[in-house]
């Protein structure tokens, strides 16, 4: 049997170790780094935003912060946050992906009212990237269903980007065929039969189209289309903005569960607010995203062709309905996807 003194010694060592461990985790509880978990094609955008946000926050709050980034398909990222990827903020490309987090109490249910424009600091739309000279003559949604058109899109199952493509094509078809469901489905089946590759994220789809030279048209956000033309040169690719497309809002939210645990709420909130400042909007616009700040709108209006944008609310009755009717297992999307 251990002596009383021995037991006391053991206990005090244990207590000391515990204090140390707690002390360390206490030190971690006041971190100056935040993680922005985002969709796939926003890599360069947030790199640029972070580079400007850090000195701005230093100037206003006097703290040096680090902003870490993680990028993949928006819906996949939402799943990873639920699995424990410690996102202080999420910047997704789809309302439903943040709703997923709100449903599990990671994000406040009234998250859309916490920032202007339903918490979407910028927006874009599905557009087309085609090979130089547009040899297949793809200018509108109708052309995607033609025989012999090879399409590359991210997978609508894992990527918000891919879902917008599906919804935009359907929104166009609903108008074109005056709501005739049989004709709409027939059109969508033809479009998806033309898809050569379903990548998991938007950027992988771009790589498939640009580096692997697969397909005749890449359908992705206008920001990615114009950004790619700039990155790889307009002697190889043409950007096509169809006359009608779908409004793609990019919603943001503070992940309450994570920031409350880590004590990073002030930084996270400042970060999202920064996206709405004239400086933030200017950066966002320079990456070919459409913005709402008047000065930035004026500055970048030349780069955006005229387009009529259909809203999800008007065409489909809101995101909750979209999720239940179209994207649920066995929903309308599954009916038009080829059997993979």
């Amino acid at each position: 049997m251990p002596s009383l003194k021995g037991a006391y010694l053991k206990r005090s060592i244990f207590a000391a170790a515990l204090t140390l461990a707690l002390g360390v985790s206490q030190a971690w509880a006041q971190p100056t780094d935040i993680l922005n978990v985002s969709y796939d094609v926003s890599r360069e955008l947030f790199e640029a935003v972070n580079a400007k946000f850090i000195p701005s926050y230093k100037a206003s709050a006097g703290v040096d912060v680090t902003v870490n980034q993680s990028h993949a398909g928006s819906s996949k990222q939402a799943g990873l946050v639920l699995e424990g990827l410690a996102a202080d903020v999420v910047t997704f490309n789809q309302v439903t992906d943040i709703e997923t987090l709100a449903g599990k109490q990671f994000v406040a249910t009234d998250w859309q009212s916490k920032y202007p424009n339903s918490a979407s600091p910028f927006y874009s739309l599905p557009a087309f990237l085609v090979r130089e000279g547009n040899p297949k003559g793809i200018v509108s949604w109708a052309d995607l269903a033609k025989d012999g058109v090879g399409i590359v899109i991210p997978n609508p199952k894992t990527s918000g980007n891919g879902r917008y493509t599906y919804l935009a094509a359907r929104a166009w078809a609903q108008e074109e065929f005056a709501g005739d469901e049989a004709k709409i489905e027939d059109y969508l089946k033809k479009v998806f039969a033309n898809v050569k590759v379903f990548d998991t994220g938007g950027r992988q789809a771009t790589t498939t189209f640009v580096e692997n030279k697969i397909g005749d048209v890449l359908i992705t956000f206008e920001t990615e289309v114009l950004g790619t033309v700039k990155a790889v040169g307009d002697d190889q690719y043409d950007a096509v903005t169809p006359p009608v497309s779908l409004l793609a809002e990019f919603p943001v939210a503070v992940v309450d569960k994570v920031v409350d645990e880590r004590g990073t709420r002030p930084i996270a909130e400042a970060y999202l607010n920064y996206l709405y400042t004239p400086e933030g909007q200017d950066i966002i616009g320079s990456f070919y995203n459409r913005v709402n700040d008047a000065a930035a709108v004026e500055k970048y209006k030349a780069q955006f062709p005229e387009v009529r944008l259909i809203k999800v609310e008007d065409a489909f009755g809101g995101w909750a309905k979209v999720k239940a009717e179209h994207f649920a297992e066995g929903g309308l999307l599954d009916k038009v996807l080829p059997n993979l």
Binding site: S25, L35, R43, E44, N68, Q69, S70, H71, A72, L80, L82, E83, G84, L85, A86, R203, Q204, T207, V210, E211, A231, V232
Partner: protein
């Protein structure tokens, strides 16, 4: 069991190849060039296509440097653990008889036959926030998924059979007579292991550790599931290569790939050297 090239050449006297033989030899060279040599050459040329300065700048980019660091750190953590595990497992199954021994050998080999991506998903289901143990661990402030710990864990899982696989056949073949002799002369357990067992298995052990190391460094599938891809935090070198490629930073991707290729070549050279030394050492 591995056969030693030196033994093979001693076994039969070589004859000059006939016409069919030359054809096969030519085929071997052409396919090796296409499958092995050209990709390696391509990696190096692409990595250096913008000159040495650009290459160094790519390697020294903070995120790539961190990926190299994390990859090496993972190897430093995982390989020693797997050496200890492999020796223990091999010792157990070759020196003792117990019920369920065959089952144990099969279990040890499971990571070989499971696709790494499945391994990653299993860990996600186990330790993820919606997984079996994840919520309990999270309540106690322990976070595994999307941290380096998850990367260590899946790497451990994927590479756990390597050392044991090398040792078990050898130790079976050697039998336990040496150890029994040592025991009868009054050696204790540690003395037996250190002075008798270890010298007998050291080459196979090193070989297994080397293979394990190569696999840890190159692992992609399992790590990609549990990493969370946080830039400059949880990207190992193979993940960083994919990330750079998708960032349209092709020369950066190839520069990172060249460091991975260099590590692989180093492994091959060490392996060849070990086989040589091992062959003379055994005699």
């Amino acid at each position: 069991m591995q056969t030693n090239p030196a033994d093979a050449s001693r076994a039969g006297s070589p004859t000059r190849p006939g016409r069919a033989g030359w054809g096969l030899i030519a085929l071997t060279y052409v396919s090796s060039a296409l499958i092995l040599a050209m990709p390696l050459v391509l990696i190096v040329t692409m990595a250096f296509r913008n000159g040495l300065d650009a290459y160094l700048a790519n390697i020294l980019a903070p995120d790539t440097l961190h990926a190299i660091f994390l990859t090496v750190l993972t190897a430093i953590v995982v390989v020693p653990i797997n050496i200890v595990f492999g020796v223990c497992a091999a010792w157990l199954v070759t020196r003792y008889d117990f019920p369920g021994k065959r089952l144990l050998i099969t279990i040890i080999e499971i990571p070989f036959s499971i696709s790494p991506i499945v391994a990653g998903v299993i860990y996600l289901f186990l330790y993820g926030g919606q997984g079996l143990l994840g919520p309990v661990l999270a309540d106690n402030g322990i976070k595994i998924m999307f941290t380096v710990w998850a990367i260590f864990l899946v790497s451990l899982f994927v590479t756990s059979p390597f050392v044991a696989r090398e040792l078990i056949p050898l130790m079976q073949q050697q039998g336990g007579e040496d150890e029994e002799a040592a025991l009868s002369l009054g050696a204790n357990g540690f003395q037996i292991f250190w002075n008798v067992t270890l010298p007998n298995i050291k080459w196979a052990l090193l070989y297994g550790a080397l293979l394990c190391n190569a696999r840890v460094i190159g692992e992609f599938g399992a790590v990609s599931v549990v990493s969370g891809a946080i830039r400059g935090q949880t990207n190992t070198l193979p993940l960083q290569i994919e990330l750079l490629f998708n960032d349209f930073n092709v020369s950066g991707a190839f520069a990172a790939a060249s460091t991975l290729a260099a590590l692989a070549v180093l492994t091959i050279v060490l392996k060849a050297a070990l086989e040589r030394v091992g062959a003379t050492g055994r005699r």
